[in-house]
Structures are given as C-alpha cells and as structure tokens.
Symmetry: C2
C-alpha cells in the first residue's frame, strides 16, 4: 500500500493528476480511508498506471484509454482502435506539415526580399534575365485593377505558383485609364486553363531598377530608368515588366513604404 505521494513517484504521475484520474474513474486507488479520505494504492495500480502512461504517450484520450482498459485484455483486440488512432495521428502530421510549408514559404519570401534590397544600391543597372514560364491574364483598364488579375491567377493556378508575381505593360507610355497590361504568375509546370495565357516569357538583356515605396511613386523610378536609357542611346522593347519582390503580403498588407518592385525594360542595341 502506497500513499499518493509515494505512488506518484512510482507511477510518474503528479499527485494532482492521480486525484484527477481517480475522479475520472480511470485509475482508482485500491483503498480510500473513509475517515480521512486518504488514497492508498497497491501494485495492481502500478501496472494499470504503466498502461495509462503508454497510451497517453501515444496521445490516446482518457476516455479512449478507459474504453481500452475496460474492453480489452489483449493487444490483438485493439487493432481496430490502433488503426483508427493511427489515421488521426497521420492526419495531424499532414496538417502540421502543411503549416510548416506555408511558414517556410513566408520566411523564404521575406528573406529573399531583404537580400534583394541589400544587394541593390537602388541604381539603374543592366542585367541578363532568364526565360520564365508564366500564366497571365491580359486586361485593359486602370492599373489598380491589377490585383483583380492576381486574384484570378491565384485561384486558378494556386499550387502551381512558384516565384514572385510580375506584370507586363504593353503601353509605350503611362496611361491613367484604359491601360493595356497583363498580370502574370510564374508557375512550375505547363497547365492550360480557359481564359489564361500560359507561355514561356523570353529572357534577354534588360535595364532594371529596384523601386522602394508605394506603387503610386513608381513614376520617379520610371523617370530615372528612362533617363539612363536615353543617355546610353539604348532601344527599349515592349512590354515593360514590373516584378513585385515585396508587396502586400499574404498575411499582413504591410507598409507601402517598404514595398519593393523591380522595373525591367528589355533593350536591344
């Protein structure tokens, strides 16, 4: 016969937990002093406690454990229970793996944005851009309708998306209304969908500039880039691209002052 304190050390459960299990009729002391209410445990309780520990480690609920202890005396009879429980556990694993994937993506995106900003002196530079497979929706209207296009792309290509969103501008100059542009999302593999253009964008040499700040101030950066092009006597090709390195995030909309956009203008000498 052990007092609750002794039994606590033997079983590895706290005193509180033992009282709780008693209340739940999961692990009942072999004797309770009717005068004092003191609980006393014996060796049979130790065995039962051991079983409960094992099952708790496997994340069985207390009611499941009571069920098991009541119904079964052989592990073979538990097979169904185990199979069912395994499915539950498996589902949780998958769920958490998805959460982890999401978080990893967020972290990766932010880190990339930070790196891009560090590497850039926010000066106009010439660089080589690789070809890229994208899905796009060509639109006419106001620039701000862009986001509608990205929403459509997100819904349609969700899991194929891999990379930063970008937008092609087909007008040779700035247009307030009735602009001709095409929001695009880089995708992992070729998938055709009604209403979207899926194709490989050609790479090539371009003049580019990283713009930091809200979209309505892109004009200043465009001015700088155009000046550079004029000075060097380069010839620009349509469409212009904007790559949204960091914009309104998936979670927080963020501070527009911190948005990062790369303007890419393809050139030929």
């Amino acid at each position: 016969m052990y007092s609750i304190g002794e039994f606590s050390k033997l079983s590895g459960f706290t005193i509180k937990t033992l009282r709780f299990y008693h209340e739940k009729q999961l692990l009942e002391p072999s004797a309770v002093d009717p005068a004092t209410g003191y609980r006393y445990y014996d060796n049979a309780n130790i065995e039962r406690a051991r079983i409960i520990r094992q099952l708790r480690k496997m994340e069985f609920s207390l009611s499941d454990i009571r069920d098991i202890l009541d119904k079964y005396d052989d592990q073979a009879e538990m097979l169904d229970y185990l199979e069912g429980h395994k499915k539950t556990i498996q589902a949780k694993i998958i769920q958490y793996q998805n959460v982890k994937k999401t978080i990893d993506n967020l972290i990766k995106n932010e880190k990339e944005a930070i790196m891009t900003m560090k590497d850039s002196g926010f000066e106009v530079e010439e660089k080589q851009v690789d070809p890229i497979l994208v899905a796009g929706v060509r639109m006419k209207g106001k620039y701000s309708d862009c986001s509608v296009g990205f929403q459509k792309l997100g819904r349609a290509f969700g899991r194929y998306i891999k990379g930063k969103p970008l937008c092609l501008y087909y007008d040779a100059e700035y247009r307030e209304e009735d602009a001709d542009f095409e929001p695009c999302m880089p995708i992992k593999q070729h998938v055709e969908k009604e209403g979207f253009s899926v194709r490989q964008l050609t790479g090539g040499k371009c003049v580019c500039l990283l713009h930091k700040g809200p979209y309505d101030q892109l004009g200043r950066s465009y001015a700088r880039i155009l000046e550079y092009v004029k000075q060097k006597g380069l010839k620009m090709n349509c469409p212009t691209r904007e790559v949204y390195i960091k914009g309104p995030g998936i979670i927080l909309k963020g501070n527009p002052k911190k948005y990062l956009t790369e303007i890419q203008m393809f050139i030929s000498d």
Copy 2:
C-alpha cells in the same frame, strides 16, 4: 455595415466565434448599438478577419495573433515570430511521427502474430532457421527471472531492437531452479555493451512447434516435440530456443491463454 450574421458569411467565422473574438478584443465590430447591443462590422473588419484566418490556419494562438496585429504592420518584422513558431510546429511533427512509429510497430507485431497462428496447424515441423544477430544476457536462476533479462536488454539496446525476443536454454532437461538460460533480443546492428553478449546466432535445421497458451504449460509442447524427435531418431543440439511471438504486450499484459511461443530445437542427423 454588416450584421453579425452577414459578416459571419463574409469572414467564414461562426457567429459564436465572432462574439468570442469580440470579447477577447481580437476583432472588434466597428460599431455596437448601445441600445440593442447589436454588433455591426465594416470592410476594415473584413481585412482583419482575413489576417486572423490566415494566422489561425497556421495554428498561431489567439494571443500571438493579437500580438502580431498590434506590433507589426509588415511581414518582414514577423520573421522572428515565424521562426519561433516554425520550431514549435516542427517539434509537433516529430512528436506525432514518433507516435505513429510506435503504433505502426504495435500493429505490425500483432498482425504477424495472427499470421503465424493462421499458418500453423500447431503441429511439430522441421524447418530451416536463418542466422540472426542478437544481444543476450546469460543468467542462472529461475525461468521466471527471464523477464528481468529482457528488461535489461530493452534498456541497453532500446532503439537497436528489431524482431521478437527469444531465449536460449542451455540445460538438457527441465530445471525448476538454477536453470541456465539466456534472454536475447534481435538487433539491427552490432553494438557492444558491457555485460551483454552480442553475436550472430547460427542458423540451421530445427524441429519446431508453435505453443499457444501460458508459459507454465510449455511442458506439454516440449513433450510433443521430444516424442517427434525420438520417433524420427534425430539428434538434438543444445541450446534450445524459445521465440516469443506473442507474449505480454508493450501495453496490455494480455491474456496468457493467447500467448504464442515457438519452440525451436536444432537437430543434426
């Protein structure tokens, strides 16, 4: 302005949850009618609700979410939070994977025992046994002390164990006291440990019989097997092996009537 019912549909939270979030000051309606207590939400609430949904999907706690919404307006500032949370999630994944592994093992063991029993007609038969790598503790004493040996093996070789426990009996006849035997555990790789003999057991031809029932009735099966050996004029070699296909389980001690033990006696003509 939306009523709580409309906003519930817009945001995807139940009415109960919205009221709960209001109470927790996580998502407060833009207006509350002081006379009726009716809650009214606006578009800014929709955006905040969207953020909360995203973060809840990632299993952030409500207090974390409130923290994030209060402190940060840019995802980049959340990086530490995300990294910390990722670790938590990762830990859960590992934990659940371990649980799953344990359950898988239990299921596998029970299924194997069931298969073995189905395949066997509980008749004496001759078969070829493969060599096997084991860790063993040689002991002298009562058979029932066997379990002590297995406990030692379990503690010492825990994660290297792979297979059913077995025991070697070095006495030529049955001994109540002072028997000479060696509990063994099959292991995956050679690991030396003080006090244990780690070696490859040789395989070979043996006469064997599956015994179903408690260990104290093994005598009957031994009698059957010895009769067979005598009849066929075979020569037995020491030590005899008992393989515990199904004994007291890891969780439930089980019903001794269902225990399965294979007796293996190695023979040479």
